[in-house]
């Protein structure tokens, strides 16, 4: 029988763990527990709830207000892993600098980042957004229409990314992608990147921005870009969206081609 005093001696350890990883606990609560609870209570999916909120709290045709509504909902009500306002600013800046004409987005989810990108695009640019999930894609489409973007600016493709990417050249007449934004399954970052390379869609100067490379993290992806030498890369360190203490980063790669 272990004595109580020894058990008490473990109290500091417990306290340390709780304090040190408090943000993770909070995140777990918000992203998992609250979600399950609400799913049971409302019978709607999380994305649908978000859409309802945005629909009632934003001005149609105004992307900024839609984004604000999203941010508010994710901050205060529930949690959806959008790119968030802070990392979104980095995204905006890169888009402004590059002003790409062909943009590929992997993982539209419920359209937050799609609106964000479409908002920053120059005139005549076109955004191809790939979303695997049918219901999410429907919501993303609604959000896009709500924000006032039509089919000419944003093309929403409902298919898994590994099926779409090889067909981009043939089906959508894409020669080269200027900007790729990755925010889908973290495990797919690497295969999709390699697929993009294989298809020759990346030209010199193409920018690839991958979100969430530190948390939840895409270690294989990072290892690959470190090794491959095809890219100039850097990691923009930031906090995880809608959370204060969890560090995250976005990887910005610039395709250099084979030297």
């Amino acid at each position: 029988m272990v004595s109580g005093a020894i058990a008490l001696a473990f109290l500091p350890l417990l306290l340390t763990l709780i304090i040190r990883y408090r943000y993770y606990f909070v995140l777990f609560y918000r992203a998992v527990l609250v979600r399950i609870w609400k799913d049971c209570v409302t019978g709607l999916s999380r994305e649908e709830r978000a859409y309802q909120y945005v629909l009632t709290h934003s001005i149609p045709g105004d992307p900024d207000s839609i984004l604000d509504a999203f941010d508010y909902w994710c901050n205060k009500v529930e949690y959806i892993s959008n790119i968030g306002p802070k990392k979104g600013k980095i995204l905006d800046r890169i888009l402004m600098e590059q002003s790409p004409l062909t943009v590929l987005e992997l993982g539209a989810h419920c359209g937050y980042s799609t609106v964000r990108i479409a908002r920053a695009l120059p005139l005549g640019a076109r955004l191809y957004s790939i979303e695997m999930d049918q219901t999410n894609a429907a919501i993303a489409e609604k959000i896009l229409r709500l924000a006032g973007f039509d089919d000419d600016t944003v093309e929403l493709i409902v298919n898994p990314s590994d099926e779409v990417i090889p067909r981009l050249r043939s089906d959508y007449n894409l020669e080269r992608v200027d900007f790729v934004f990755m925010d889908h399954w973290k495990k797919c970052y690497l295969p999709d990147l390699q697929m993009l390379e294989e298809c020759g869609l990346l030209g010199k100067g193409s920018v690839i921005l991958a979100d969430n490379v530190l948390f939840p993290g895409a270690p294989k992806f990072l290892r690959y870009i470190r090794k491959s030498g095809l890219y100039e890369w850097k990691i923009h360190r930031a906090m995880l969206e809608y959370s204060k203490g969890i560090r995250d980063g976005m990887a910005e790669l610039v395709f250099q081609g084979i030297k």
Partner: protein
């Protein structure tokens, strides 16, 4: 001369021999080919041997080939353009056999290298120009002749021909000292001197490193070649010999230095760690090594002067009761569990105080055992004090008078890089930490100007300290509680309780010592200090925690000592009764003879509190060590293994996210070490085996921790230099030394030793052994002198004098410090003034210069006018000439004539001269 191919340096001697033969007249081509082949093979061998060096050398060779061709272009009017390429390919082919690996690399770097080659050619041109002068004419003729022959006789294909030609050139270019005229020799000497100068001043040249290296190598080769060539006849040989010897001597010195470095234990390991983790982690290991050294000496003292004499010359085991396991324990005395607790046979051995007998002198050496025991006990402590204080003083000298506050940003700018970092990841971290440091410093500066957020930080700091105090109080109470409970268990008898309950005190102490620092670390993030300051706070808090724990433990021990002494009194009384019963032998019981021989195991004995204290300390050390190692294995190694291998199949990135790899905890480890040492100092008097145990522990932990750091830790995110903290460790060590000797001295002085165990048994106090020795082993006058000297009337004034001296020294040092600060201020003021003056002077000079220029232009215009008004055709011609020439001479004149430039040259000179002299003050 850089015309000479590299092979010739490598195969130097052979080549020379061959050349001489040739010079004698037998210019056999086959021999030369042989020589070439031999050179080549030798070169190849060398290549294989020194791969690394050769990569560089290969570059050099290439450069030299290019060089060669460049030179040829300059010298000959033949079409050398084609040769450039062929020559290069020839060289490459030549090396192709053993350099396939490198070839690929070369291909990659070709572009870079050609650039380098060009640069090198330029530098080489400069260097070789002087020498070439002397030898060029002669060698050119010879070369021409030879080339003719080569062309006539050669049947080889073109590339090899080119190759040989290259060699030919280089061979011919070689200077033959005998054939040089004194004039040329003089020039050669000059060139050699120049090279020497170049090598010396190379460090200060504003060149890129690559160029420096190349220049250095080339000039060294040049020196090697030609230094021996100076002088004539015998003198030359002697000179060459001398040069060779100095070179050998230098090489030997360098090797010896390397050897010395290799002799420092763990130096390479620590350097490697330093390169990976920065100097703060390395400072821990250096401290550990230093500690190991001290413990070695302590171990030597106790082992050589106490344990070995007693084991060899003292009475053997089983001769007297204190050296025998009592009958009751005999059955279990050899059980591992008992031995592990340092009972049984381990308790009745030289490892503990109780084993030593109180014979005044043992063995044929008449070794004074009790005296030696006492003196060793005092000596270890005294030695430790001496070493610690001396090291502190030395460190204080080294750290100097740098004040960190006055030039915050320039300090950061120029001194923040840790040059010992050799690992890209650490360098990344360091880079990031420097940038964040800058950001923070700028923010801090802004905040200190704004002064609005300071209340929040203050509040947070107070809060953090409050939390830490709560934590400390809690842990103190827990230990107190546990100790009290263990006393209760002891009264009940330990046999009735589980292992957990028996080891509760040690367990709780170790666990608290392990987990509380973590909590402090978490709490200290509230305070937002600079990491160096945070480290010191952290150290201070852990120090308080450990100290509290240790003193609680000691207080508990004191209680136990008192209990044992009570027990001892009873036992003493019983023994007299027992003896009386034995000797008197009541008639009814037995009829034994009067000189009864009882086996020593049966003799009743006292509890011997000294051995008990020693055992407690040894157990504490052992459990502490075990906890450290187990923490290392679980907390670092197991965690690293899990993170590494579970990462493939986990839903988030384990390496970057939640558990990640652990960082090396410098403060905790240092404090663990220091407190461990404190326990050694405290317990070593009662358990002579403690230093030996500690040496063992330090040795193992050196290897284990080195391995663990390199294998499962990641560099700290905020890498910082450990510049100031070394003396901080020392100061803590000193405090701990004092605090740990305090209870030891207290027990020695106040508590009488037990009556039947240990070297001081039978004496009233332990230090009585000194008086005894003085009385019996020294002449009478000596003890008299000693008694006079120890008279309070003499001692008190002496102490007073010492205090006064210390006060005086301290006050003088303070005044020196003040003077230093004053001087520094003065220097700064002077510098500023100087700057102002210089600026003024420069402005004035600029204005004057402009004026002068104006005047000069005007005068030029005047002159031209005058010339124009001169006369005729000739004058116009001259005018043309003059018009082109006019500005220069007039400017020149304006510099020289004082009338045009009032004061300017004089003043500026004075300023220039004054400025450095002021700075030097």
């Amino acid at each position: 001369m850089s015309f000479i191919g590299d092979e010739q340096f490598e195969g130097g001697n052979k080549e020379k021999r061959h050349r001489e033969k040739r010079r004698d007249g037998s210019k056999d081509r086959r021999k030369r080919a042989n020589a070439k082949r031999r050179e080549r093979s030798r070169a190849d061998r060398e290549n294989e041997e020194f791969e690394e060096r050769l990569v560089k050398r290969e570059k050099g060779r290439r450069g030299r080939v290019k060089n060669d061709q460049e030179a040829k272009k300059r010298e000959q009017e033949e079409g050398a353009g084609a040769q450039v390429k062929s020559g290069k390919t020839a060289k490459v082919k030549k090396n192709i056999k053993n350099e396939k690996r490198r070839m690929s690399e070369k291909a990659g770097e070709a572009g870079e290298r050609t650039e380098k080659g060009k640069k090198r050619v330029e530098s080489a041109k400069k260097e070789t120009a002087t020498v070439k002068h002397g030898t060029r004419d002669k060698t050119r003729e010879e070369r021409k002749k030879k080339r003719k022959k080569v062309f006539e006789t050669s049947s080889e294909h073109k590339t090899s021909e080119q190759d040989s030609e290259d060699k030919e050139n280089s061979e011919d270019k070689e200077v033959k000292p005998e054939s040089l005229s004194p004039d040329e020799l003089e020039k050669l000497k000059e060139a050699v001197d120049e090279k020497k100068k170049l090598i010396q001043s190379l460090r200060g040249k504003p060149w890129p490193m690559k160029k420096k290296l190349v220049t250095l190598r080339e000039s060294q080769q040049f020196l090697e070649k030609y230094e021996g060539a100076l002088g004539k006849g015998k003198g030359r040989k002697l000179y060459a010999y001398k040069v060779m010897m100095t070179k050998k001597w230098m090489k030997f010195q360098r090797d010896f230095e390397n050897f010395k470095t290799a002799c420092i234990p763990w130096e390479m390991k620590i350097k490697e760690i330093e390169s990976h983790f920065g100097s703060s982690v390395a400072s821990y290991f250096i401290f550990l090594r230093w500690m190991y050294g001290i413990n070695m000496i302590l171990f030597g003292l106790t082992f050589g002067l106490v344990m070995v004499p007693e084991a060899l010359m003292g009475r053997p085991y089983g001769s007297i009761p204190r050296k025998t396991v009592p009958r009751a324990e005999e059955a279990s005395a050899m059980d591992f569990a008992v031995l592990w607790d340092f009972g049984g046979y381990a308790q009745y051995s030289v490892l503990f105080y109780g084993f030593y007998s109180n014979q005044r002198a043992i063995g044929w050496l008449k070794f004074r055992m009790p005296l030696s025991y006492f003196l060793v006990g005092v000596g270890t402590v005294a030695y430790s004090y001496m070493v610690v204080i001396r090291t502190m003083a030395r460190n204080a000298n080294e750290s100097g008078v740098g004040d960190d506050n006055s030039f915050n940003f320039s300090w950061k700018m120029f001194t923040s890089w840790d040059y010992l970092i050799g690992n890209p990841e650490t360098a990344d971290n360091k880079f990031a930490s420097i940038t964040t440091c800058f950001k923070e410093a700028i923010l801090e500066e802004q905040e200190s100007r704004k002064d609005d957020n300071i209340h929040l930080t203050r509040f947070l700091r107070v809060l953090a300290n409050f939390l830490v105090l709560c934590c400390l109080a809690g842990s103190g109470y827990l230990i107190y509680f546990v100790v009290r409970r263990s006393q209760k268990f002891a009264l009940d008898g330990f046999e009735n309780h589980t292992w957990w309950e028996r080891n509760e005190v040690n367990m709780v102490m170790s666990l608290l010592g392990m987990f509380c620092p973590m909590l402090f670390d978490v709490i200290s993030t509230l305070e937002n200090y600079h990491p160096r300051v945070a480290l010191q706070w952290q150290l201070g808090r852990i120090f308080a925690l450990f100290l509290g724990n240790l003193y609680t433990f000691i207080i508990a021990l004191m209680d136990e000592i008192n209990v044992k002494r009570e027990e001892e009194k009873i036992v003493k009384f019983n023994i007299t009764m027992w003896e009386a019963s034995l000797y008197n032998g009541t008639v009814s019981e037995n009829f034994t003879a009067s000189p009864i021989t009882i086996h020593p195991a049966d003799v009743p004995r006292g509890p011997c509190w000294e051995t008990m204290v020693g055992q407690e300390f040894v157990r504490l050390i052992i459990s502490d060590t075990m906890t450290t190692y187990i923490t290392l294995l679980i907390g670092d190694f197991l965690r690293a293994v899990l993170v590494r291998f579970l990462n493939h199949c986990w839903c988030w990135d384990l390496e970057a996210g939640f558990p990640s790899y652990s960082e090396f905890d410098v403060s905790g480890n240092v404090l663990g070490l220091i407190f461990n040492q404190g326990m050694i100092w405290m317990g070593a008097f009662y358990a002579p085996c403690l230093p030996a145990l500690n040496v063992l522990r330090l040795h193992v932990s050196m290897y284990l921790q080195c391995w663990a750091v390199m294998c499962c830790n990641v560099p700290q995110e905020r890498v910082f230099k450990a510049s100031g903290s070394n003396n901080f460790y020392m100061a803590m060590l000193l405090v701990i030394l004092f605090l740990s000797t305090l209870p030891a001295i207290y027990t020695i002085v106040t508590i009488p030793p037990s009556f039947d165990c240990g070297p001081f048994s039978g004496k009233n106090r332990m230090f009585d052994v000194i008086r005894e020795t003085l009385e019996s082993d020294f002449p009478a006058w000596f003890s008299k002198v000693f008694s006079y000297a120890s008279n309070p009337g003499l001692v008190l004034p002496f102490i007073l004098l010492m205090v006064l001296a210390i006060y005086y020294l301290q006050s003088t040092s303070k005044s020196y410090k003040e003077a230093n600060v004053e001087l520094k201020k003065k220097l700064q003021m002077q510098n500023e003034e100087n700057k102002k003056k210089n600026k003024k002077a420069a402005q004035k000079a600029l204005m004057d210069l402009e004026e002068a220029r104006k005047v000069a232009l005007e005068s030029a215009g005047h002159q031209r006018n005058n010339n124009a008004s001169f006369q005729g055709q000739e004058a116009r011609d001259r005018e043309m000439e003059q018009a082109t020439r006019v500005p220069r001479p007039s400017n020149h004149m304006s510099h020289r004539t004082p009338g045009y430039l009032p004061n300017f040259p004089l003043q500026s000179e004075a300023m220039i001269r004054r400025a450095p002299s002021l700075q030097r003050h």
